[in-house]
Symmetry: C2
Subunit: 407 residues, 2 copies
């Protein structure tokens, strides 16, 4: 049993770093607040007597030794970065639960056969720098380190510069240093299924695949008054057509497909100038990778059609693609047994959000625990999970990890 | 005949203040560059021996005395502010032409019966602060001074603060100090008609009416992954529907109606967050005020429909309305005769852009001269008028003004 008061204190301590006036969290990857949260995490790891290492990509690990010098570690963790004005549970809950688990092991003098490692992955959110799940993706070998170093935010600042500025470009190579026993991650569901089923905790069976992209429409900026309608190449009209196409594809492709345009930037963005340039993102997800591929093809075709109807140029780039993932049976079972032993009502479900576990699944046996999200809300200050539900998920994680670490 | 070399020098001097790398001009109303352009203008007025006054709203006048102490002044001018990354002719050409006219009168020792006043109006563009034609609108009594002082830019800075910061909140009441003989304004056409007709110069007969507005859609920011399509209230989807409605209305309402969405701002604007809030502008113009009113009603109805389809809240505000204007016959004739006397090929046409002349027409007899716009381009660095065409329009303005000032 975890120490509930300490667990809540730890959650509250971290959510004070980058909190917003409306109770949300604004802690973009590699920002000053992200640094402060990382420092907070490192201090707690050190206080707990863990051996800390920071890799070249800022992924930060704390290791608690096992009794068997040859045993591979069980890895537990998530991420401390947040969305712009996001919620306080997304990511942080999983890091804090893993930390609380080793503190409890220390308190109770429990030794495990396998070492336990606790990790904070760099830039899971993919909002400031793309792709999402970037640190775990580099570490798992899905992305090239140098390519990701050169990624820029909207101000043109590179990720490498920011890692160095905040002092989290470590020495350890960003790749597995040994074989892992398994990886477990606790996260808020961010969707409505657990609440709808009346469950206490979720046993996650896998993660949807996804594709994200960026479109740039370039038309002619011109005066909105004396320029006749048939003389216009309006980049925003082409973008609006594409926003509607994304909605249509999301609605119609598969039963669980989702499609979203989350961001758009217009230049010059003046009431009386026909928009000359529009950059927008799009994204699709589905548990069927063939559906994801079909959505990808459809949105590019629709964007091309919109661009040629309007007589604007189009540049297109896929910024992220992740195959769907099925978790290892033995991890699903470990999580399910832990929930059952603790007498929690549980539901097996797939994840509609991406997680660092997506990439970990290519390195080691992987599983996840979901905490209930009230009203399914996430990536918003309205994101909410009761302390009760946070605690249920954390205990499930702890018990599942203990099983795997003893094995 | 104006001094062509000096005229070109004056144009070049001013366009260096706030020039952009791509040959455009970025001189937003009440910015540091606008101040520098105003200082430049004031210096030239003083050097020319004109009596300078700055009114409470920053409108800046230079007066050259007439021979008849009781005669009302002929007013000539335009504006020195620009669009974001706009062109170098829009506004500035009219101010420089008026200035060059009085310099030529000085050189040639010509005295006029009526005084001549040269004016630079504050914030004609309406891009940083709305509405457009704001300084002339206040001066003409179309807007309340205090209300306009409180207008803010997107950073929340008030117009009053900015006027004070740049030192252009003068003492003179922002209203006509006496009766005016007439007002003439030279401006680039900003549309394709003169070029298409092969004309040297345009004789403007009036200005379209227009309506501008701002819409704010407020939905639920949420995660773009685990949030099912039928759980979404996406502010950007409602905005995209409205962008297309504006296009449809512009295309179909009247033969000359134009409709434009020039700017849109999304929050939180992240690739994997369903947009929670979108602010967008729209605008319609037509020479028939009933059509303008109809467009206004249609866009509000369409925005409301889009908002309710998507389940988002809508706030709506009309930020500008200007009735269409017919210029005084005697001003149209003065411009036409001047063009004929100079043996320029001319075309009579209406203006599809708003001008300070819109408001001046409610104060005194008003007319305008248009210079040819290559390819009709404006509000863009690609805006271009040859020196030949600038000079033709300036000479037409000068000759028409001389006729009116002698009368
Ligand atoms: N879990 C989560 O919010 N991850 C961010 C990447 C995504 O959009 O799924
Ligand atoms: N002439 C001009 O560009 N005026 C700005 C206001 C408008 O959009 O018409």
């Amino acid at each position: 049993e975890l120490d509930r008061d300490r667990f809540v204190d730890l959650l509250n301590e971290q959510s004070a770093i980058g909190e917003t006036a409306d109770g949300g969290l604004h802690r973009l990857a590699l920002s000053a607040d992200d640094r402060a949260a990382r420092d907070w995490f490192r201090e707690h790891l050190e206080d707990a007597g863990l051996e800390v290492r920071v890799d070249e990509f800022g992924n930060t690990f704390g290791r608690r030794a096992g009794t068997d010098p040859d045993a591979s570690p069980v890895l537990l963790g998530s991420h401390l970065d947040s969305q712009p004005n996001g919620g306080i549970y997304d990511g942080a809950l999983g890091v804090v639960a893993a930390l609380e688990f080793v503190l409890t092991l220390n308190d109770e003098g429990i030794e495990t056969t396998h070492p336990i490692e606790v990790v904070n992955w760099t830039n899971e959110e993919g909002s400031r720098f793309q792709p999402a799940m970037q640190g775990s993706g580099v570490w798992a070998g899905a992305h090239d380190l140098e390519t990701e170093y050169e990624k820029t935010d909207t101000d043109g600042v590179t990720l490498r510069e920011e890692l160095e500025r905040i002092g989290y470009r470590g020495d350890v190579p960003a790749e597995p240093q040994e074989t892992y026993e398994s990886y477990l991650e606790l996260h808020v569901e961010q969707g409505p299924k657990l609440e709808a089923a009346g469950s206490d905790v979720g046993v996650v069976t896998g993660i949807v695949g996804f594709t994200w992209g960026k479109l740039t429409f370039v038309g002619n900026p011109d005066h909105s008054g004396p320029t006749p309608m048939d003389h216009r190449s309006d980049a925003l009209v082409a973008a609006a057509d594409t926003i509607q196409a994304v909605r249509r594809i999301g609605n119609s492709l598969g039963a669980e497909t989702v499609g979203t345009v989350g961001s758009i930037d217009v230049s010059p963005n003046s009431v009386n100038i026909i928009p000359g340039k529009v950059t927008m993102t799009w994204g699709f997800r589905d548990s069927d990778d063939a559906v994801v591929q079909r959505a990808y093809e459809m949105v590019l075709a629709e964007a091309n059609d919109a661009a040629s109807r309007e007589g604007v140029e189009l540049e297109s780039e896929e910024t992220m693609r992740a195959e769907s993932v099925d978790f290892a049976d033995r991890c699903i079972e470990a999580v399910q047994s832990a929930a059952d032993d603790l007498e929690y009502d549980s539901l097996q479900l797939g994840s509609g959000a991406g997680h660092d576990a997506t990439h970990l699944a290519s390195v080691t046996d992987t599983g996840m625990v979901f905490a209930v999200s009230e009203d399914g809300k996430s990536h918003s200050p309205a994101e909410y999970t009761s302390w009760e539900d946070c605690y249920a998920a954390a205990n499930t994680l702890a018990n599942a990890a203990l099983t795997l670490a003893h094995e």
